[in-house]
């Protein structure tokens, strides 16, 4: 038996040493390389796509288009509803799928500790210098790593979880306290959001105030944080939320519902991010509604605040992609873009845009009230999501 006899049919080597098997291997390798080419790019190559995991409200088509045209890249956004959804996406390989991500409250710090996002250099994002003083890194600590002093995000829009109310249905002196949201006098004419963290945290401020534990030394040695409540305070919150449930018409899931509830007079007041309040004011200005609405930014017991941010994922290496991310963030923080964002998205900006805003816009977007943010408790991670979930479930079942 010769060597050739042992080969399968059709596999005889050609005189040039190039047989069918080699040809097939070459074709397969070529095909695989061709298929993989779009996904295997050297880090130094100019990026063609910028992928962002973000809130939909911030994706303004004209702004995105201007960026795409200027940098000759495609902006590819993926939208999420809540931070936990974005967190899950990042944890299951999202750092390779996204270059930029948005978050608020404690989430950027959590992302950084878990190496889901990377440090950035503010010097490469000049517009960061235009933020209001309260958002400068020396005062706004949520985007700075305590140990290394490195920054890992830029501030974007901000807001509170204040109370919007119908001035004819609820007196101003009542709304200055969180108590108004638990007042039987307004039974059936109150609503709160369906967000469990903020409901518990807001009730936590009131409970700690009533118990006198808010200003006393805390078990963790830190100042009072409504997201870090003791078991006694949580028990008080559960009781309070169960009492409140009887007074609520509903827990709204979206701004449109809240706006309808307020507009129709079905409810007198509800805590919210002031977005519905701004829409109602705009309607009032156009003469579309008669009722007057006001917004209590911070109740006397203390209020909750949030700052949305832009972050760069850890999948972005130094080089052209990081530069593109920095350029994107810098463009988004440009005052004229931020103004556009405020008017369309309905949120207050962390960049000082007073010089290009009308007095009405300055009032509506709380541009002279940014300092009040320092008196608010920032959205944070519940000390134990498990314990908080039990409180919320028991309230819902009661």
């Amino acid at each position: 038996m010769t060597t050739n006899d042992s080969l399968p049919l059709g596999s005889a080597a050609s005189p040039a040493g190039f047989d069918r098997r080699k040809a097939l291997k070459t074709i397969a390798a070529g095909a695989a390389a061709a298929l993989a080419t779009p996904y295997v790019r050297p880090a130094s190559a100019a990026p063609t796509t910028l992928r962002a995991l973000m809130w939909e409200v911030y994706a303004i088509p004209e702004v995105i288009k201007a960026f795409e045209d200027k940098h000759n890249v495609k902006f590819s956004p993926t939208f999420f509803d809540g931070n936990s959804e974005a967190y899950n996406k990042l944890r299951v390989g999202g750092t390779r799928d996204f270059d930029l991500v948005q978050a608020d409250g404690f989430w950027p710090g959590l992302y950084y500790r878990e190496k889901l996002i990377r440090a950035i250099d503010y010097a490469k994002i000049p517009n960061t210098a235009k933020v209001f003083p309260v958002f400068k890194p020396d005062r706004f600590k949520l985007l700075t790593d305590e140990a290394t002093g490195k920054h890992f995000g830029v501030t974007w829009c901000w807001g509170s979880y204040g109370t919007t109310y119908n001035t004819a249905m609820m007196p101003k002196e009542k709304v200055q306290s969180i108590e108004c949201l638990f007042d039987p006098e307004f039974s059936g004419r109150l609503a709160t959001s369906a967000r469990f963290e903020e409901n518990i945290a807001l009730a936590g401020i009131l409970v700690a105030t009533r118990m006198g534990t808010k200003d006393k030394p805390r078990p963790d040695g830190k100042p009072f944080n409504p997201y870090v409540l003791s078991d006694e305070e949580l028990a008080g919150v559960e009781k309070l939320l169960i009492e409140q449930k009887k007074l609520l018409l509903t827990r709204y899931n979206d701004n449109n519902t809240l706006q309808q509830l307020l507009e129709s007079g079905a409810i007198a007041a509800a805590p919210e991010f002031a977005q519905s309040y701004r829409v109602l004011l705009a309607k009032k200005a156009k003469g579309e509604i008669d009722a007057d609405f006001a917004h209590q930014l911070i109740p006397k017991e203390g209020g909750l605040g949030w700052v949305d941010t832009w972050l760069v994922t850890s999948g972005v290496a130094d080089g052209p992609m990081l530069t593109l991310c920095e350029q994107f963030m810098d463009m988004m923080l440009a005052p004229e873009i931020m103004k556009q964002q405020a008017l369309i998205g309905g949120a207050s900006t962390t960049i000082d845009i007073r010089s290009i805003a009308t007095p009405e816009e300055q009032k509506l977007y709380l541009m002279d009230r940014t300092e009040e943010l320092s008196d608010m408790y920032m959205f944070d991670q519940p000390s134990s999501t498990e314990k908080w979930e039990r409180v919320w479930s028991r309230m819902q079942a009661a």
């Binding site: 936990s84 959590l110 609520l248 519902t257 509830l261």
Partner: protein, 286 residues
């Protein structure tokens, strides 16, 4: 060759599909249910704590009981409405039978979220119903604004087309001449219906009931958008575990319990009914 391949292809493909998209996710859910979560992290610590929480914390039992009551009420209402509708189409639909039945599928051309939100607009404080009432000087109907009644209306609206279609398909295979025969032998229309039409279409009715009951048990959207503060059902509470609270392991345990209960309900239903007397034709000729 074709006869040997045909069973493998016709049964094999669905089996692979079921294993990949149903059995494996269910197994992963089972595994997750015996782990635990701690501040948005899954800890692979094997224990039955989640089941213990479900068994001992009354809140979850309340959600489950509420869901069972809601699913039963909605399924009974759907069946009660669907029977005369399907029967009417079968008897009087003439050449428009198919068109009339397909008409019930029209709402499915839009997404479930859209349908629930549309209903929220209809039943809400500035919705059509209350808008008309208030324009007539009457007080708004609070019973349909963010209550369990509103949830039930929403669920009936969502699942009625399915029940009508299933009962209609059952009636299509029912030989109407049996009713004529009963009447000829002196049975009243009511007796003919209850002794012939109903029992011989019981299998189809049960399928329709089950196809409404089981999704109602895990309903999320309707109670969330229509239910109000007292409207939290089991499915909504379960979705919460996978959403903002991030207590995925507890949610997985809730899912396993729901699955087991659904299977048990179907099993009990079919054990208590003699399929041979219900119009079921799946036993073959033997």
């Amino acid at each position: 060759m074709r006869t040997r391949l045909a069973p493998w292809l016709t049964l094999g493909v669905p089996t692979v599909f079921l294993v990949a998209l149903f059995v494996l996710p269910l197994l992963s859910m089972l595994v997750l249910s015996v782990w635990r979560t701690e501040n948005y992290h899954i800890v692979q610590d094997w224990n039955l704590r989640n089941y213990w929480v479900l068994a001992t914390d009354g809140a979850y039992a309340t959600f489950l009981l509420r869901s069972i009551a809601m699913a039963t009420a909605v399924s009974v209402i759907c069946t009660a409405i669907a029977w005369p509708v399907a029967y009417g189409i079968t008897l009087y639909g003439g050449r428009y039978k198919l068109l009339l039945t397909l008409g019930f599928a029209v709402p499915f051309l839009t997404g479930e979220v859209l349908r629930v939100i549309a209903l929220q607009g209809l039943l809400g404080p500035v919705g059509l119903v209350n808008g008309v009432l208030m324009s007539l000087g009457a007080a708004p109907l609070r019973a349909i604004m963010y209550t369990n009644v509103a949830s039930a209306i929403g669920l009936v609206y969502l699942y009625l087309p399915i029940v009508v279609t299933v009962i209609y398909l059952s009636l299509l295979n029912f030989d109407q001449r049996l009713l004529d025969a009963a009447k000829i032998f002196g049975a009243s229309p009511a007796r003919a219906f209850f002794e012939i039409a109903w029992p011989l279409n019981l299998f189809g009715t049960l399928i329709g009931f089950a196809l409404c009951f089981i999704p109602c048990l895990s309903a999320t959207l309707a109670p969330r958008f229509l239910g109000g503060p007292n409207g939290t059902l089991y499915g909504m509470a379960m979705a919460q575990q996978f959403g903002e609270s991030g207590t995925w392991a507890l949610g997985a345990a809730m899912g396993v319990v729901l699955f087991a209960l659904s299977i048990a309900a179907v099993f009990v239903a079919f054990r208590t009914v003699d399929l041979r007397r219900t119009g079921f034709t799946g036993f073959g000729r033997g």
